[in-house]
């Protein structure tokens, strides 16, 4: 971890009430394994361990904690700091309707999240409309219609026109006409490496100008989280992330991976199949979860 020069300095400081290098090294070896078990990406883990190593080595020894406990505390604080520290609200437009666009891989939970967001923002005084932009998946439109019906939230679905861009622009017109101030676009799941499908999202973004693009990612995603988020970030760009299915026992290391690689905040987490199972993201809770 340290250069030869620093090592020399270190050996001299050794027993002076500072965390010794070997204390830190041994602890970090275990922490590395914990993070990998928690699905934090390999390169993100390596970078993170180096960062923590720098903070921990030479840190003043606290009387109430063992060296290992102290390193863990530094790790926990660093994790919390890295994943937090951003405004996690949604940017509402001064000129309604505000448009939120949901994107992500197949099966991540977008359609369910769309309904959850509609319910959440309605409880905050907004008048939402759901837009079924997925014309590919069998019964996707029906799925959103059923969810909207149960919530008594209007759902704009494609008529004869199945062009995703037209569906969205028609929805904006319809929302304005009805005085609705929030549009939630539920797009089809797609692979980040599907050029054509990623291009479709770029075209929707350019024509419809959403105020907020949210990546909906499965909370049990492993190492691939960096590729998925990285590609969506580069090709399309997004403002925040919603991590789903965290009601299970997945550790959720993808949260740190995505945040590290894109710099974008996690805004909400999905914690169940029902429409009320949506929570605002708490970085300290995620940090404890990742550390197991």
């Amino acid at each position: 971890l340290l250069s030869e020069g620093l090592e020399q300095v270190f050996r001299k400081l050794g027993k002076r009430g500072k965390l010794s290098e070997s204390d830190v090294r041994n602890c970090l070896r275990d922490i590395r394994r914990v993070l990998l078990e928690a699905d934090v990406n390999y390169k993100v883990t390596r970078e993170f361990i180096e960062r923590v190593g720098e903070k921990a080595i030479g840190a003043k020894v606290l009387k109430s904690l063992t060296p290992a406990q102290q390193v863990i505390k530094i790790v926990y604080d660093e994790l919390t700091y890295l994943m937090g520290g951003s405004a996690v609200g949604i940017n509402f437009s001064p000129a309604p309707p505000t448009v939120i666009m949901l994107v992500g891989l197949q099966g991540g939970g977008k359609t369910t999240v769309a309904a959850k967001l509609a319910r959440y923002f309605r409880s905050k005084g907004k008048s939402p409309m759901l837009v079924a932009v997925d014309t590919r998946r069998p019964a996707a439109v029906e799925q959103l219609r059923v969810l909207g019906l149960a919530l008594d939230v209007p759902v704009h679905s494609p008529d004869a026109n199945t062009d995703p861009i037209d569906i969205c622009t028609d929805a904006v017109t319809a929302a304005r006409r009805s005085g609705l101030d929030l549009l939630i676009l539920d797009t089809a799941g797609r692979l980040h490496v599907d050029q054509e499908m990623m291009e479709e999202l770029v075209k929707i973004r350019e024509r419809v100008r959403p105020h907020e693009i949210l990546l909906v990612a499965d909370g049990m995603t492993g190492q691939d989280a960096v590729n998925i988020a990285g590609e969506f970030h580069e090709r399309l760009g997004f403002d925040g992330v919603i991590l789903t299915k965290l009601d299970g026992d997945a550790r959720g290391g993808a949260a740190l991976s995505i945040r590290t690689v894109t710099g974008k905040p996690i805004k909400f987490v999905g914690v169940g199949e029902k429409v009320d199972a949506l929570e605002v993201f708490h970085p300290e809770r995620m940090a404890s979860r990742i550390l197991g």
């Binding site: 394994r33 990998l36 078990e37 928690a38 699905d39 990406n41 390999y42 390169k43 891989l105 197949q106 099966g107 991540g108 939970g109 590919r136 998946r137 069998p138 019964a139 996707a140 029906e142 799925q143 959103l144 219609r145 059923v146 969810l147 149960a150 692979l191 980040h192 490496v193 499965d218 049990m220 995603t221 492993g222 190492q223 691939d224 989280a225 590729n227 998925i228 299915k245 009601d247 299970g248 026992d249 997945a250 550790r251 290391g253 993808a254 199949e273």
Partner: protein
Amino acid sequence: IKGHRTLDEEVLDEIEATLLQADVGPETTSKIISRIRERGRREKMEGLKAVKKVVKEEILAIMDSAPTADMSHSMSIPRPYVIMVVGVNGTGKTTTAGKLARKFGKEGKKVLLAAADTFRAAATEQLEIWAKRTGADIVRHKSGSDPAAVAFDALSAALSRRTDILIIDTAGRLHTRTNLMEQLKKIKRVLGGLLEGAPHEALLVLDATTGQNAIPQVDYFNQAVGISGIVLSKLDGTAKGGVVIAIRDRLSIPLRMIGIGEGPDDLRDFDPSEFVEALFG
């Protein structure tokens, strides 16, 4: 000697990075690396290429360690052959059920689909479209009804209609939801009560993008209903699905098939050597 050892450590680091980034997980990765070190003491292994070859052999040994029963059947199989499709939310169960209906339909088999997901919005409608697409029949109840009742009705229908293959699509459920796992056990009991030996297959559909959580998923589902095989879906993405090596090593459940797309023909038999090559690709 000292120079040689340093090179091997660099090579091992690179192998370790590849395996970890493929979701093989730290425990199974260190197990594989230890085996490589062991073999390195007994046999000559110089350079990355040689070590990679040995790693591939070791992984293949794990992947091939249990017999892969062939799903394209002989005449002696029970009729109907009952396949239950299970797994956590969003992994591709309904789509896989549809792909299986296509596969068996093409083999000239009479297929019946059972819409036993009575909970999720438009789950039945989704499966109905797959039935139309693949020429399979479908049994469904209204939303909110008992999934075990759907399974029972479907099996009764399959028996009376002399169906060859009955595929039961179940609702996604997190393995940590005890009540939902109990529901799955009930479906299994009901099937076995009507036809001894049913379900003949319980396929767990696992999303290739899933990390280490795949291990408890397989473990819990296996304890609940006994998993006869895994289908690894969404391998057309960039995820390597390396966690199946850890699963095979610990639970020896065979990996049967892979999903490589959203269309009806995007289902392949699992090929261990192709899989191992792709890990290092």
